[in-house]
C-alpha cells in the first residue's frame, strides 16, 4: 500500500477522484455562464461539501461576489480564482516543522483524538529526520491502547530509531520523563513523544496530557518545543473544538493532516487557518513510511477545487 508515484501524483490521484464532483459541479455550473446569485450559491455549496464550513464558504463566496459578480466566466477562471483565494488563506500557515539542532533534544509531543494517525505520523517523521542525519528517539507514551507499544516498536524498526517503552498501564508522564532523560544523556537531536488518542471533551484525559508537559518541563523548562495536533482529513466541523481544546491544554504549535489520500478534502483546514492561524506542517498521503509530505498551500487549494496539478 505504500509504493507508487511521487506525492503530487498520489495527492492528485486521491484528490482528482474526490474533486471530480467539485470539478464537474463547477464545469456544469459556469460554462458560458454569468456569475449570478444562483451560481454563487451553488459555488458556496461546493465549498461546503469540501468541509470548509458554512461560514468560511460564505465568506470566500462573498469575496467572489464583490469582485466578479455578473462577470461572464469560464470554469477554468472560476477554479483558478477560487484556488487563489483559498491558497492565500493557506499560504501563511504552510510551513514545515523545523528542528532546532541546538536543543538536543528538540522535544516533539504528538497528540490528537483516537485513530487520527499519530503513531503512523511519528514513524514517518522519525524516518525523515533520521534521513536528514538527525539522531531520533521515540517515546511510547501511549500506555493505554491495546498493542500501541508494539505498533510503535514496529515503526521504530522501520525508521531505524530506538523506542523507549513501558508496560501497558504505566504512567505516561513518567515514561516521557525517562525518555527525555535518556535523550539528553545520550545526545539525541529529537525526541518524538507518542501519546494515547483522546477526545478533547474528556477532561481527565486532557489533564493527563497536560501532566506529560508538566513533567517533561522538570527536565527542560522549554519542552516540548513543538506540539503537533494530528488530524484526520475526513473530519468535519468538530475540528474547531479539537484545535481549541488541545491548544488550550498543551499549546499546540502546529497541525498534521492525515489520510489526504482518501476522498475527503480536509477543507476544514481552510477554516482552521483563518480561525487559529496555526501552522500546518505536513500531510499524510498513505500508510507507508514515506507517505508524509510538506503541506503546500497552492497544491492543496488547486486540488481542493478540482484543478489538475501541473
Amino acid at each position: 500500500m505504500s509504493e507508487g508515484g511521487g506525492w503530487f501524483a498520489r495527492l492528485k490521484a486521491g484528490l482528482t477522484r474526490s474533486s471530480d464532483k467539485i470539478g464537474d459541479g463547477i464545469t456544469g455550473l459556469f460554462t458560458k455562464r454569468r456569475l449570478d446569485d444562483a451560481a454563487l450559491e451553488e459555488l458556496e455549496e461546493l465549498l461546503i461539501s469540501a468541509d470548509l464550513g458554512v461560514e468560511t464558504a460564505g465568506e470566500i463566496v462573498e469575496d467572489f461576489r464583490r469582485t466578479r459578480f455578473n462577470q461572464e466566466v469560464t470554469p477554468e477562471e472560476v477554479r483558478a480564482a477560487l484556488a487563489a483565494d483559498v491558497a492565500r488563506v493557506l499560504e501563511p500557515v504552510a510551513m514545515p516543522l523545523a528542528i532546532d539542532r541546538a536543543r538536543r533534544p528538540h522535544v516533539v509531543l504528538v497528540c490528537g483524538v483516537n485513530g487520527s494517525g499519530k503513531t503512523t505520523t511519528i514513524g514517518k517523521l522519525a524516518r525523515q529526520w533520521k534521513d536528514d542525519g538527525l539522531k531520533v528517539l521515540i517515546a511510547a507514551a501511549d500506555t493505554f491502547r491495546a498493542a500501541a507499544v508494539e505498533q510503535l516498536e514496529i515503526w521504530g524498526e522501520r525508521s531505524g530509531c530506538p523506542v523507549v517503552t513501558a508496560k501497558t498501564g504505566a504512567d505516561a508522564a513518567g515514561l516521557a520523563f525517562d525518555a527525555l532523560a535518556r535523550a539528553r544523556s545520550e545526545g539525541f537531536d529529537v525526541l518524538l513523544v507518542d501519546t494515547a488518542g483522546r477526545l478533547q471533551n474528556k477532561k481527565a484525559l486532557m489533564d493527563e496530557l497536560a501532566k506529560i508537559v508538566r513533567v517533561v518541563r522538570k527536565l527542560d523548562p522549554e519542552a516540548p518545543h513543538s506540539c503537533l495536533l494530528v488530524m484526520d482529513a475526513t473530519i468535519g466541523q468538530n475540528a474547531h473544538a479539537q484545535v481549541e481544546a488541545f491548544r488550550d491544554m498543551v499549546e499546540v504549535s502546529g497541525l498534521v493532516l492525515t489520510k489526504l489520500d482518501g476522498s475527503a478534502k480536509g477543507g476544514v483546514v481552510v477554516a482552521l487557518a483563518r480561525a487559529f492561524g496555526l501552522p500546518v506542517h505536513a500531510v499524510g498521503v498513505g500508510e507507508g513510511i514515506d507517505d508524509l509530505h510538506p503541506f503546500e498551500a497552492k497544491a492543496f487549494a488547486r486540488s481542493l477545487v478540482g484543478l489538475d496539478q501541473r
Binding site: S49, G117, I154, Q200, G236, Q237
Partner: protein, 455 residues
C-alpha cells in the same frame, strides 16, 4: 463555537411565537436556519437538502400556519423528521441468524474503530446473548493489528483465531469460518484492515472476503466526527462491499454526529450500534431519539437511565426514572447517583447525558467536576442529617459550616454541591412537567432548553 440546532431554532421561534402565525417567509427563514444548523452538525449537503425539503412539505400550509404555537410545531416536525431519517424509534438488533456459525464482517476507513468495536461486539454477544464467539483478524497490513485484537480478545474473554504468519486475508477468513464450524461457534467476527473506499484493490479484497464467508452482517464502522465525505464513504462501501448495518464510534465525543444522518440516508442501512468510549463495554444500541437529541443539542436522559440500569438493580433504575419524572429528586437520590456514577465509570461520558448540561457546562468546568470530586461530594452529603438530605432548604450558614467541617471540605464546596443539586433538580422538574408523553415516552419530544414545554 457553533450554535446547536435547538439554539438556532429557539432564537427564530422566539420571534415567531410573538407574532403567533407563520408566513411563507417565516417558514423560509426557519428552514434556512435549519439548513445551517444541520451543516454545522456535519450532515452532508445533499442529505440536508432533502431533509429541509421534507420539513418544508410538512411545515408549509397545514399544521404550522394554523398552529397556535407555530415555533413549537416546527421544532416537533424537525425532530420527528430527524427520527424518521435516522431510522425510526426502534433500534435494529444485530442479526445473528439461525445457522451458526454466523459471520460478522467489520469494514471501514483506517482508524474508524473496527478492531475495538469487534471486541466490544464479541463481549456483548458473549455476555448478553450467551453466544460462543470467535474473533479473527484479517488485518495483515497495520503494524501490530493482530496483537491489538489479541489483547482485546483476552480482555473480553473470547478466543481469537491464532494468526499464521504470511497468511492472506481471504485465507484467514476461510480458516476462521472452518474453525467456527468445526468447534461449534455461534458467531465469527472478522476484523479487517482499514481501507479507503477509493482503493480499488483493497475494496476488491474485502468484497472477496465477503463472498467467501457470506456474513450475516457486514458492519460499516464510522467515526461520529466524520464530515461531508460521510456520504461518499457510506455509498462506496455499500456499493462495493454491501453493508447491512452501520456502527457509529466516538459518540462519547462532542461532535454533533451529523454523519449518522448522512450515512443512514444514503445507504438506507440501519445504524445498529454506537461506540461511547474506549473500553470494551462502551457499546450501546443505537437509538435514533438519542442521536436526534444530540444533533438538536438536547441532553440524553434516556441514555443515562439506560446505562444506570445495567449497573444498578433494575428496580432502582426504574425508581429513579419515576422520581425524575415526578420531579422528586432529593439529596439522597443525588448521593445514590454519585455512587452509581462511580460504579459506572467516567464522569465525562455521563455528564453528556444529563439534559441541559450544555447550559451549565461552564459552571461545571469551573467547579472542576472530575472523578476525584465524586467521593468528596458523597462525603458532604454523608455529613448531613437525614432531615437535611430530604429538605435541603433548612441548610443555613451554620449547618453548612458544620457539614463542611464534618466532611473535611470547605463551605464553598458545600455551596457548590447544593447549587448543582438545585440545577439538576430544576431540570428534572422541568422535564417532569412534560409528563409521560415527553422524554420517556415514545414519540414524544423534549423542548430545547429555554423553550417552554409543550402543553
Amino acid at each position: 463555537m457553533f450554535e446547536t440546532l435547538s439554539g438556532r431554532l429557539g432564537g427564530i421561534f422566539d420571534k415567531l411565537r410573538k407574532r403567533g402565525a407563520l408566513s411563507e417567509d417565516d417558514v423560509n427563514a426557519a428552514l434556512r436556519e435549519i439548513r445551517i444548523a444541520l451543516l454545522e452538525a456535519d450532515v452532508a449537503l445533499p442529505v440536508v437538502k432533502d431533509f429541509v425539503e421534507g420539513v418544508r412539505v410538512r411545515a408549509v400550509g397545514q399544521e404550522v400556519l394554523r398552529s397556535v404555537t407555530p415555533g413549537q410545531m416546527v421544532v416537533k416536525i424537525v425532530h420527528d423528521h430527524l427520527i424518521e431519517t435516522l431510522g425510526g424509534l426502534e433500534p435494529v438488533a444485530l442479526d445473528i441468524g439461525q445457522s451458526p456459525p454466523t459471520a460478522i464482517l467489520m469494514v471501514g476507513l483506517q482508524g474508524s474503530g473496527k478492531t475495538t468495536t469487534a471486541a466490544k461486539i464479541a463481549l456483548r454477544l458473549r455476555k448478553r446473548e450467551n453466544r460462543k464467539v470467535l474473533l479473527a483478524s484479517l488485518d495483515v497490513y497495520r503494524p501490530a493489528a493482530q496483537q491489538q485484537l489479541q489483547v482485546l480478545a483476552g480482555q473480553v474473554e473470547v478466543p481469537m483465531l491464532p494468526p499464521i504468519l504470511g497468511e492472506r486475508p481471504v485465507a484467514i477468513a476461510k480458516r476462521a469460518m472452518a474453525k467456527g464450524r468445526v468447534e461449534g461457534f455461534d458467531v465469527v467476527i472478522l476484523d479487517t484492515a482499514g481501507r479507503l473506499h477509493i482503493d480499488q484493490e483493497l475494496m476488491a479484497e474485502v468484497a472477496e472476503v465477503r463472498a467467501v464467508t457470506s456474513p450475516r452482517e457486514t458492519l460499516l464502522v464510522a467515526d461520529a466526527m466524520t464530515g461531508q465525505d460521510a456520504v461518499n464513504i457510506a455509498r462506496e462501501f455499500n456499493q462495493k462491499v454491501g453493508v447491512t448495518g452501520l456502527v457509529l464510534t466516538r459518540v462519547d465525543g462532542d461532535a454533533r454526529g451529523g454523519a449518522a444522518l448522512s450515512m443512514r440516508a444514503v445507504t438506507g442501512c440501519p445504524i445498529k450500534l454506537m461506540g461511547v468510549g474506549e473500553k470494551t463495554d462502551d457499546l450501546e444500541a443505537f437509538q435514533a431519539e438519542r442521536v436526534a437529541g444530540r444533533i438538536l443539542g438536547m441532553g440524553d436522559v434516556v441514555g443515562l437511565v439506560e446505562k444506570a440500569a445495567e449497573h444498578v438493580e433494575r428496580e432502582d433504575a426504574e425508581k429513579m426514572a419515576a422520581k425524575l419524572r415526578k420531579g422528586e429528586f432529593s439529596l439522597e437520590d443525588l448521593r445514590d447517583q454519585l455512587r452509581q456514577l462511580r460504579k459506572m465509570g467516567s464522569m465525562e461520558g455521563l455528564l453528556g447525558m444529563i439534559p441541559g448540561i450544555g447550559k451549565i457546562k461552564n459552571q461545571i468546568a469551573q467547579a472542576n467536576l472530575d472523578d476525584k470530586l465524586i467521593p468528596r461530594q458523597e462525603a458532604i452529603i454523608n455529613a448531613m442529617t437525614k432531615a437535611e438530605r430530604r429538605n435541603p432548604k433548612v441548610l443555613n450558614a451554620s449547618r453548612r459550616r458544620r457539614i463542611a467541617a464534618g466532611s473535611g471540605t470547605t463551605v464553598q464546596d458545600v455551596n457548590r454541591l447544593l447549587k448543582q443539586y438545585q440545577q439538576m433538580s430544576d431540570m428534572m422538574k422541568r422535564m417532569g412537567k412534560m409528563g409521560g408523553k415527553g422524554l420517556f415516552g415514545r414519540g414524544g419530544m423534549m423542548p430545547p432548553p429555554g423553550m417552554p414545554p409543550f402543553r
